[in-house]
Point group: C2
Chain length 330, copies 2
């Protein structure tokens, strides 16, 4: 294992130190591993909290800031944060009108965010939870009951974050978030496995010409292992399952994320194949986001996420955002 880290034990804490040094717009509670906005929201505004295992950067810590999250809670690599961490974040950011928890559907995350919500409610803080389970690859997986939560989380955090900034109440934001979680779809492919620092070896082995369809962002098995193919065929096998799952015609935000070790030239080459395939079924990519937006350590491969949008969602998408990883228009 060759990684630019001090040690497997300190990598999460070290990366949070780096994040804090790089971005004056965030403040890090290093003891609890929570990233906050340096300038908290006004009283009377709903706060958004997300989090999960580390190793998916910039998700979630890179999405803290104006127009997106109020706090992100970092677990160990590929490990859910604890209820105590999540609770600390929740009480720190609440501004009297409730907190929305944004949770990816993995067993540990679901359980720990549930416990944190109970702790918050015992402290008279209203919490609503939206669960993202958008990965169409498999019905259940080694880490989940139901579909796994992946790329839609990024789009949801941006859109609901913008809506929260505009002062909507918890009911409205929860409804909006639920609608997004229900309509976003993702599908990924791995060309190589990630190496968890504490393990030191790849989470699975692929032959030189083998790829894993519908891989999970922790290396969970997908639908099938097949031989490598050129981009047009790969694009078909990624877009196809989204369409088969009921992706409706119309405008959409298309996100193509590298999984950590895949360079931008390959992502753009893939996008060139995907956009026409989507157009062929009436899905128009009115906005795109291409790059490492949700990753799996040093896994090679990509994940496509398609979210159908109307004018309202688009206006929230286009609204100003200022976070370490996503920044525009302010």
């Amino acid at each position: 294992m060759k990684k630019l880290i001090s040690s497997p034990e300190t990598v999460v804490a070290d990366a949070l130190r780096g994040l804090a040094l790089a971005h004056p717009g965030v403040r890090v509670d290093h003891e609890r591993r929570v990233v906050y906005r340096a300038e908290p929201k006004d009283f009377g505004t709903v706060a958004l909290v997300s989090g999960g295992g580390s190793g998916h950067e910039p998700l979630h810590t890179g999405y803290v800031g104006f127009g997106m999250l109020d706090a992100a809670v970092a677990g160990d690599v590929f490990t859910s944060p604890t209820p105590d961490q999540i609770h600390a974040a929740t009480i720190a950011v609440e501004r009297g009108v409730g907190v929305l928890h944004i949770v990816k559907n993995y067993t540990g995350d679901v359980l720990n965010f549930e416990l944190a919500a109970e702790l918050a409610q015992a402290a008279r803080i209203e919490v609503r939870t939206v669960l993202v389970a958008d990965d169409v690859a498999v019905a259940d997986s080694t880490f989940t009951a139901g579909r796994r939560g992946t790329g839609t989380t990024v789009l949801l955090e941006k859109i609901v974050g913008a809506a929260a900034e505009q002062g909507h109440d918890l009911d409205t934001l929860h409804e909006l978030a639920t609608r997004i979680a229900a309509s976003g779809r993702s599908m990924g492919v791995a060309l190589s496995a990630a190496t968890v620092p504490a393990a030191g070896v790849p989470t699975f082995e692929l032959a030189d010409n083998e790829i894993e369809w519908g891989v999970g962002i922790h290396g969970e098995p997908g639908r099938a292992r097949q031989t490598m193919a050129p981009a047009p065929e790969l694009a078909e096998r990624l877009v196809g399952p989204l369409v088969a799952d009921g992706l409706p015609a119309g405008d959409a935000i298309v996100m193509l994320s590298g999984l950590g070790a895949t360079p931008l030239i390959e992502l753009y080459a893939m996008l060139a194949e995907m956009v026409p395939l989507l157009e062929a079924v009436g899905v128009r990519a009115v906005r795109t986001l291409v790059g490492n937006t949700i990753t799996a350590l040093d896994m090679a491969g990509c994940l496509i996420t398609v979210l159908p949008v109307d004018a309202e969602l688009l206006s929230y998408w286009d609204a100003p955002v200022e976070t370490p990883a996503l920044r525009w228009g302010r």
Copy 2:
């Protein structure tokens, strides 16, 4: 070789198609492989043209847009664009008051930009050229006479792009660019080699515990091959040569780029070690840019660039920019 591409022959063209589909703010001349702003500058404004071999994305095609480049010319992978391509870009963007060519110091680039400048001058277009040769690793290299041009190019394109937007003349911009090129310094390390699609095999071989110090962004040999070390030691060996080269105390922009296959968690873990080392010699990282800003296909590793700045340079850095890869504040 496993890559998300259609074929080695079409990867550059395919990636440009993807870029055009993803970003309505740019327009691509697919025949000549030039990326332009969709909305050209006003007459009477100096235009900025850069370019080079592909495989370093988002450099340069991702940096075309308001506040940065007017055109980027894409060569084949790790191969200079031709004088004809560069000339086409130059005459397309000139607005009556001259064009600045931003060239990384590689033999092919230098020669072809020189020929393009002569063609432009024959067409009565005034061209000035700034050469970036900021890589302190080696005095000469397999690809260059003199130092190689790397990360300072990104910072130069942003800063001089902002100054051009404010209407400064060609002399002033050339002087500013020359000052930046003379004061920016970079140093990189590779944990693995890149695989050029047309070659199909890595450009060099590293053992499981071996790294290449001062690697070039085309895989050119650096200073030495040594055994892998933890982040604090790696950081010292990257920052040390910048200091030894005369990096002055004071405010600086610090860019830490992944070389293509290195995830963000590792970059932040490295940054956490580097910022204190810089502070120890009086260099204050007043702005940072962390991510894949200049890459070498799927090479694992990182490149640090430090540019000393004064209030003027900082104000240009902070000025609005809207390109596929860098976007803020407009």
